[in-house]
Subunit: 323 residues, 2 copies
Amino acid sequence: MKFVTIDDVRAAADRIRSHVVRTPLLAARWGDEQRPLWIKPENLQPIGAFKVRGAFNAISALSGSAATGSGPTDVVAYSSGNHAQAVAYAAAVHGLTAHIVMPEETPNIKVHATREHGAQVVLCAAGERETVAARVVAETGGMLIPPFDHPDVIAGQGTIGLEIAADLPEVANVLIPVSGGGLASGIGVAIRALCPQARIFGVEPELAADTAQGLARGHRVDWPIEDRNRTIADGLRSQPSDLTFAHLQQVLDGVITVAESEIRAAVRELAYRARLVSEPSGAVALAAYRQGVTPPGPTALIVSGGNIEPQMLRQILDESVPD
Amino acid sequence: MKFVTIDDVRAAADRIRSHVVRTPLLAARWGDEQRPLWIKPENLQPIGAFKVRGAFNAISALSGSAATGSGPTDVVAYSSGNHAQAVAYAAAVHGLTAHIVMPEETPNIKVHATREHGAQVVLCAAGERETVAARVVAETGGMLIPPFDHPDVIAGQGTIGLEIAADLPEVANVLIPVSGGGLASGIGVAIRALCPQARIFGVEPELAADTAQGLARGHRVDWPIEDRNRTIADGLRSQPSDLTFAHLQQVLDGVITVAESEIRAAVRELAYRARLVSEPSGAVALAAYRQGVTPPGPTALIVSGGNIEPQMLRQILDESVPD
């Protein structure tokens, strides 16, 4: 297995620079005194999530060869979430055709948004996504862009770590949401290399804590999808691959798990105190921070995305009002 | 009358760099095709509004002389809004004592937030703010930091224009909320100097459109405060001074006025599409953009602040849901 290196992450940064937002690291003066809080608002990326970084890095490599007539002109992805939008968007920018395979039960709003980016949407039965995607790859000669299980995708997400290291070299703790593990793997590689003093924590919902359990046991564990589907954090229901799990074993100091009520409170806190709209998956790192269990020192956390249904946002904001 | 120059704005940028967020200019792909939309999210500044730029520039000059024992060690401001927080915050960073004069009817949440920054809050009867502030200045020897009627404050707000010119040199339109006019004056100076092709538009609520009327008539006009208080955009109820009005006459190509319902719709659009929480005053430039009356071409607008009461945010989000 080939591990992603800091050089891979640096190369990704050069590739994607003109396509992604160089997000600021926001000092949040309302944090804990022992752990000065810094927020990396990746919900401000095009399509509203960090996923554009990995998608652009994977597709940019392709696009060079496509331009010379030597590479594919189509890309394929299976996702009903932010990865779908990211691949559709990055493909459109590079003039490639994107085919996005989505389950039939995907909300219309997401199908519509994906088509708005110019992508071909292929609907399929639940559980058939990978099979259908493989067929589309065979038919179109397109290149499959997986949501996390690919070195270029991991390296792209890792560019967030480069930016944190540049903005806050003295960082003591970095808190990162974990689902398939691409984001935490990439950031972990960058932070380990550039800020060796920092502790790196993954964050999972208690209801989808397969990585916390797997790292404790020393091997990947499989949670039934029905169990993982219980969390409101719909972007955190995936599980690491062999590739990302191996990275997480190397780079994480631990995994913090958070309750559903803590996730909802963090969405509210981000809206009222940081003026950021986040999706539940995007707010878990703040929920973990609020447990106060990490070592003291400057703490950076990733708000990974902001794609929340209006109705859910209104419901969560209505639940409680801070003083 | 001495006008603020681009050199003043550049000097301000050097002074405030380490204290304010270098906000990104966010490409909003959901804009109008004829007018590609770019958003400057000043709601992400410390204290949640652009006001820190002017406050830091005015206080930084002071602070140099205070450090050598030659300047005042106290600053004074009268404001119940974002300027109060900004002065309190900037003073605390520079180790100065801030005295903030606020009307007795100021909501507790704002008094509390100002004290949290370490400021002394002086409550006074409505309409007495300026008199009381003058007394505090006499008693403490402090320096008064006005919310807009000061060249250093204007130059500080103008640093936003420098950043827009750097990020989008081909900008065709810039839309800026107007109240006392410090923000539009400063940005106007910078954009006129660096992007001479750009049109610069102020934006006001219809219910506080004194500047639109004044510029049309060629002189300042005075609207009764009871009239201006009707708008939900509580940060846009001030009127220009001689200094800012003269700047606005030089730099603005026009003023667009927006209805209350358009302001509320813009708050919703910013939450759902840009993932930003804005206050009503912060959203008026998007409301103006949505009228589609500006010339075609790349359009940058300022989201000037995000300090909205939780109850008001929930109420506005509940009013309607976009598809």
